[in-house]
């Protein structure tokens, strides 16, 4: 009894310490956003008079909502598209495997190993000719392709855990393939699909390479918004922190609200 209590206490302390270490940069960013530029580079302190100066400055220089709306469109648009393509392909790989399925899965993952900058110029040229530079559709297409391997892999492992018999029973009752997917597979693996979708949203939200390189003003998402406040000349830490706080706030709140889904999805099938 006693040892288990000490154990629990130690565990709690360790967990809280790790959480604090991980959370500290975000906390520091949040605090720095409320400092003046001079305070932001002065010796670190937790005590200062908060000011909204930086928030006023960033709002006067760029329209936050324009960027935020682009981020929302692009992150959710690409996730929907990736799920739309990913669910049928993961279904076929999980339930109707051929001898090439394993190879196909590995090949898809291998596309993630190429540094994106290696294909920047070809993609830029294609986008130029298709008129997709600085468009939200262009970014949605790129993000969908970027996240598709991960989405398919995650869905594949979730689908694999579903007993085949259930789908077979459905087929016995005369369900067509798309009824099978729509009324059996999706409802039964919803937590997995949800966490896959959430991960895809977060990855798209945070993506900075393509969003900086393929957009200029109309389709620029929040990553471009943050990038505009960094500078090799002059003081910018307070403004950059304020901008970053504004940029992570929506996704942080979103993550908070969907925390239950996410944890359930990520541990789904972990205990067999």
């Amino acid at each position: 009894m006693n040892t288990s209590r000490t154990q629990r206490l130690v565990l709690a302390v360790v967990a809280w310490s790790i959480t604090f270490v991980i959370f500290f940069p975000i906390l520091w960013m949040f605090l720095t956003g409320f400092k003046t530029e001079a305070q932001a580079i002065a010796d670190p302190t937790l005590f200062f008079t908060p000011t909204l100066e930086s928030y006023a400055a960033i709002q006067s220089r760029a329209n936050y909502f324009h960027f935020a709306l682009n981020s929302v469109y692009v992150a959710f648009g690409s996730t929907l598209l990736a799920l739309l393509i990913g669910i049928p392909s993961a279904y076929s790989m999980a339930f109707l495997p051929t001898k090439r399925t394993k190879g196909t899965l590995l090949w898809m993952l291998s596309t993630k190993m190429l540094p994106p900058v290696g294909v920047l110029v070809p993609i830029y040229l294609i986008f130029r000719d298709l008129g997709m530079l600085d468009t939200r559709i262009g970014l949605i297409v790129v993000y969908t392709l970027m996240n598709l391997p991960i989405v398919i892999w995650m869905l594949y492992t979730f689908f694999k855990d579903l007993p085949k018999d259930i789908l077979e029973a459905g087929r016995m009752d005369g369900a067509s393939t798309h009824q099978e997917i729509l009324f059996l597979l999706i409802p039964l693996t919803l937590p997995g699909i949800a966490s896959t979708g959430l991960l895809s949203v977060i990855l798209s939200w945070n993506e900075a390479f393509w969003s900086l390189n393929l957009t200029s003003s109309r389709a620029a998402p929040l990553t471009a918004y943050i990038a505009s406040f960094s500078s090799p000349e002059g003081l910018f830490w307070a403004k950059l922190s304020a901008a970053s706080t504004m940029a992570v706030a929506p996704i942080l709140i979103f993550g908070w609200l969907t925390q239950k889904q996410m944890v359930r999805g990520l541990t789904f099938g972990a205990v067999k």
Binding site: I41, A42, R128, N213, S216, A227, S230, P232
Partner: protein, 436 residues
């Protein structure tokens, strides 16, 4: 019924065609103070030029450079105005990427532009970008510390004197350091400063046949001097200090001397941003063997990519943002220390500017006697004081910068660092086809 539907549609069509006549230009720029002011004055431009609206893309210098290069090299046409430096302007102009600016209106007074700045942005005698602000480098020092130690600043300090003064002022127990200099690796960071130091020690990047000279006695002497100076009398962790970090150190009173861009003067002299505004002294950048190339020349300029579809509107914008009227406008709205410096002779004749900015004379002199076409003691085949005007330089400069930072931190001796820098530069030049 049908007609009532058609009418609003027709109006809409008219409205759409009217809207497509309005010109929209996208301006890409860096997030430096002077550019932020330009962005905040957009309304003034749009009011004076009805029919043109301006979109801004603001990025950090290195990100911007990469972004613009991708777009201009592929003819992407995403930008109508690009902010580029003296390094890019002639290289891009040579490839036909920039619109030549040979038909500027008379009211623009092109002859008012400072000669070295204008030359730096020209290719084949034609301007390809208009200077937004320009800078050289100079020595900043704290007059209170100099008085305390009985040092008087000569008109032209030498590097030996600077070394001696740094030793007198250095007081690390009180977190006061003799001198702050750039150490963060990068062709535009530590190498900008190091190149001027090597120049004045009599060295050069390349000989007349484009062979690198990084292991020459001049480089050895200059880099050993730099490493000694910084290790003895510099702040701790100097290899991670770039322009920004040093500005922060100097303006919070931690450095006795600082040698860097003249464009920092306005901010160091502004008591809202600096603790040393009232004890600030200026002097010319120190010299050693030769005054040639002892201080750099740089300007940020606005150019129009040949791939832009709104070249006319873009031209109206850049002639506005680099005009005398614009400088006047900033002076009136933001205060005279905030006007973009180093572009026009008329700025330095303006009483209001001279009165507000006591450093004006130094800046003008430094800029006027910096000569990018003749910045080394021995002749060299390249233009540029603190850089070499060839496309390969970004990569070479940054790699050499990393070797020098390694020497500064003591990871390897100076000789070895320069040997490895020399080898990597030779390799890069051979790959680029300068020789077999």
């Amino acid at each position: 019924m049908k007609l009532s539907h058609a009418l609003p549609l027709a109006t809409l069509a008219v409205a759409v065609s009217a809207a497509s006549h309005a010109q929209e230009i996208t301006v890409a720029t860096v997030n430096n103070n002077d550019m932020v002011i330009m962005q905040s004055l957009t309304d003034e431009f749009e009011q004076a030029h009805p029919g043109i609206s301006v979109n801004w893309v603001v990025l950090e210098e290195n990100v911007l450079r990469q972004r613009l290069t991708t777009d201009i090299a592929t003819g992407g046409g995403q930008f109508d105005v690009m902010t580029i430096g003296t390094y890019e302007a002639p290289i891009w102009a040579e490839r036909g990427w920039l619109v030549p600016l040979d038909d500027l209106p008379e009211a623009y007074q092109v002859d008012d532009l400072l000669r070295p700045v204008r030359d730096g942005l020209s290719y084949d005698g034609t301007l390809h970008a208009l200077p937004f602000y320009g800078e050289s480098s100079m020595l900043y020092y704290r007059t209170d510390l100099f008085e305390q130690h009985g040092i008087s600043m000569p008109e032209q300090p030498s590097w030996d004197e600077v070394y001696e003064w740094a030793g007198q002022i250095h007081d690390p127990d009180n977190r006061l350091y003799g001198i702050c200099l750039r150490g963060k690796p990068g062709w535009g960071e530590n190498m900008a400063f190091v190149s001027t130091l090597v120049n004045t020690f009599g060295g050069r990047w390349f000989d007349e046949d484009w062979n690198p000279e990084l292991n020459s006695p001049e480089w050895q002497e200059a880099i050993s001097f730099y490493v000694d100076l910084m290790n003895n009398y510099g702040p701790p962790g100097a290899s991670s200090n770039g322009f920004n970090e040093n500005q922060a150190l100097f303006s919070s009173g931690r450095c006795g001397m600082w040698i860097d861009a003249t464009s920092a003067a306005g901010r160091i002299y502004d008591p809202r941003e600096s603790d040393v505004a009232d004890v600030l002294g200026f002097s010319q950048a120190p010299v050693a063997e030769t005054p040639k190339g002892s201080h750099w020349l740089w300007s940020w300029a606005l150019g129009i990519p040949a791939s832009s579809e709104e070249q006319d509107a873009a031209k109206q914008f850049i002639t506005w943002a680099t005009s005398q009227e614009y400088i006047e406008l900033v002076g009136e709205t933001e205060g005279w220390t905030s006007v973009p410096p180093g572009t026009r002779a008329s700025t330095y004749e303006d009483e209001r500017y001279i009165e507000a900015a006591p450093f004006a004379g130094f800046v003008l002199e430094a800029m006027q006697n910096a000569d990018p076409t003749d910045s080394t003691l021995k002749p060299s085949p390249y233009t540029g004081v603190q850089f070499v005007g060839i496309p390969e330089f970004q990569a070479i400069g940054t790699q050499v910068g990393q070797s020098i930072a390694a020497a500064l931190t003591g990871q390897m001796p100076v000789e070895q660092a320069l040997e490895s820098a020399q080898r990597s530069a030779e390799r890069a030049m051979r790959q680029a086809g300068y020789y077999d």
